[in-house]
Symmetry: C2
Subunit: 129 residues, 2 copies
Amino acid sequence: MASPIPQTQSTLEQRETYSLIGANKVNGTNIYNPKGDHLGEVDEVMIDKLSGKVAYAVATFGGFLGLGQSRYALPWSVLSYDTGKSGYVVNLDADTLKKAPRYENEAELSDREWGTRLHDYYGIPPYWL
Amino acid sequence: MASPIPQTQSTLEQRETYSLIGANKVNGTNIYNPKGDHLGEVDEVMIDKLSGKVAYAVATFGGFLGLGQSRYALPWSVLSYDTGKSGYVVNLDADTLKKAPRYENEAELSDREWGTRLHDYYGIPPYWL
């Protein structure tokens, strides 16, 4: 899989900036903290049909955080892709992730009041603004 | 699957406006023209990792358009979801779909020049603007 052409920093940046990915391929992608501890995986990508925006990555935090198979919705913007790790990095401590607003069923993810609460919790503007 | 509560127009609108969907569930969704002819299916949803926007629905137009298993990238905004049909409707004639810019491999979808050409072809602004 070695590239015959040496990659310059600018082509790497460009590739990362512009690159599209099949939503399917995001599922199962590992999530790490900045120290490199494996936190969990992306289970599903939730998209907003109307605005065409990615709303949430639904993640499970199994091993390191010990949250079993519970599903957590992470605003897409808290995930940054790290090509070196081939995974997403979230710069949030375990306690913050553990205490984040939960949801009972998938329909609740569409609820804007719930969504506002989640984005407020993470201190970021909602994806629909 | 009958709802015990009669749906008013406003709740239907609200549901459609706000509803999120798992990207996985979009795959395989049927695509129709406004007359109701079945054109094909969504094969994959391509998302832009950085902007968090849905870029394209990669579609196959098998039967009606006779385009075999060729994959076409449709800007997300040309698809509108029709709850009655449980599928997407594209208001474009067969000839327009057939003559749309093609791509050789998935990496080409990330190319902004190609993307500009595709969006120009459909007369809509690129998803990244």
